[in-house]
């Protein structure tokens, strides 16, 4: 994604362009006051993630109190994630002005490189594609959600970051892709990496009602 920014662009554009392109030389060319403003806002931006991460932690802790079964907690996280994802996708499309992806590979790339970066501040890696190109793994070397969290032993089958799977599922549903998203590995005591498996089930056809009207 490239953004052409003029010598004195509107303030939000500077931040976005530096975050999404490696053109850091643009920062150095800015006047002193702009650079200070930029760095100040950059610091503030990455503070925002702490509020989300800590809130997420309290949500999981509360769910552990409400439900006894780890499976129920996972399901609840997934459900909440789907509601969030269906709204988040609109915000994402508005901010990133991504054009329509031609295939599932592009979709996965956009999710890993743009979406994760935008909302969690980390870039993910997409690998282990099947031949048909509809099944892949997304790897997160660093999972910000686990920064301040520790899952006790009695919740051994708790998928702490399961909300991410729900968010992906809800978001892709809004763009007519039905996917199955599973959290295979989560960062914790034994694992150093988070792995999310994403499988495209089908593309939903739109406006079946319209087709019937035309008949």
């Amino acid at each position: 994604m490239s953004r052409q920014s003029s010598k004195r662009p509107e303030k939000p554009k500077i931040v976005r362009s530096v975050l999404f392109s490696p053109c850091l030389y643009r920062v150095l060319r800015l006047q002193n006051w702009s650079r200070k403003w930029f760095l100040h806002h950059l610091r503030m931006l990455f503070r925002g993630i702490e509020l989300f991460v800590l809130t997420y932690g309290t949500v999981v802790a509360q769910l552990c109190k409400d439900y006894e079964n780890d499976e129920d907690i996972n399901k609840e996280l997934n459900k909440m994630g789907q509601n969030i994802g269906s709204r988040l996708v609109e915000d994402f499309l508005a901010r990133s002005s991504i054009t329509q992806c031609r295939n599932f590979r592009e979709t996965a790339d956009v999710i890993a490189k743009v979406a994760f970066k935008m909302y969690l501040g980390v870039t993910a890696r997409v690998t282990f594609w099947t031949l048909a190109g509809d099944d892949c793994s997304i790897f997160l070397e660093k999972n910000p959600l686990m920064d301040y969290a520790e899952v006790p032993n009695k919740h051994s089958s708790l998928l702490y970051s399961n909300m991410i799977c729900g968010i992906l599922r809800g978001a892709l549903k809004m763009v007519r892709l039905q996917v199955d998203v599973q959290l295979l590995q989560d960062t914790g005591k034994d694992n150093k990496i988070t792995e999310i498996r994403m499988r495209l089930l089908r593309r939903r056809k739109v406006a079946l009602a319209v087709a019937k009207q035309n008949e």
Binding site: M44, L45, R47, G48, I49, E50, L51, F52, L54, T55, Y56, G57, T58, V59, A61, Q62, M80, N83, I84, R87, L88, D91, R95, M118, Y119, L120, G121, Y148
Partner: protein, 159 residues
């Protein structure tokens, strides 16, 4: 950009609150749900204030603490400062935010006024938790007369 995710998560928590309240009994159930949400905010606030004050020196007095809450703490959470801080210098503080970020998507005026308390419970907890980890016991309530402006009343409990 992560604020959007937090706002959506907060919205989700509030809407779960509504669903839980309707299914159960009337006022007592809903009160319990709101206090649960406030409790969650409390724990988040405790963690947040720790991160935000790691490098800064200790505070001179209570007023210094409140000024920090109004400026740096609020800016880090909601990207703006508290608009007005009032106190009676006897342990009561009123923080006024004229465009509270979690209320701006709801309405602009008196519509949905009765729903507003649910959207403020988590933030009341955040304030209470932050103050608690700074060694100040308090009771925090919120008052709304016209969205999206709201006032947080903090009453310091003498220990």
């Amino acid at each position: 950009m992560a604020e959007v995710v937090f706002e959506l998560l907060h919205l989700e928590l509030v809407s779960r609150l509504r669903a839980g309240g309707e299914a159960g009994a009337g006022e007592p159930e809903r009160g319990k749900c709101i206090s649960t949400l406030e409790g969650m905010g409390f724990r988040a606030g405790q963690g947040l204030i720790e991160r935000f004050t790691k490098e800064s020196p200790s505070f001179k007095d209570e007023l210094d603490v409140m000024k920090f809450i109004c400026k740096e703490f609020w800016t880090n959470l909601f990207r703006k400062q508290i608009d007005n801080l009032r106190t009676n210098h006897q342990g009561t503080y009123v923080l006024q935010d004229n465009r509270f970020r979690l209320l701006t998507p709801i309405s602009n005026g008196k519509q949905y006024l009765e729903e507003a308390p649910k959207f403020l419970a988590f933030t009341c907890g955040l304030l209470r938790g932050a103050l608690s980890n700074l060694g100040i016991d308090s009771a925090v309530t919120a008052e709304v007369s016209a969205l999206p402006a709201c006032k947080f009343h903090i009453v310091i409990q003498a220990s």
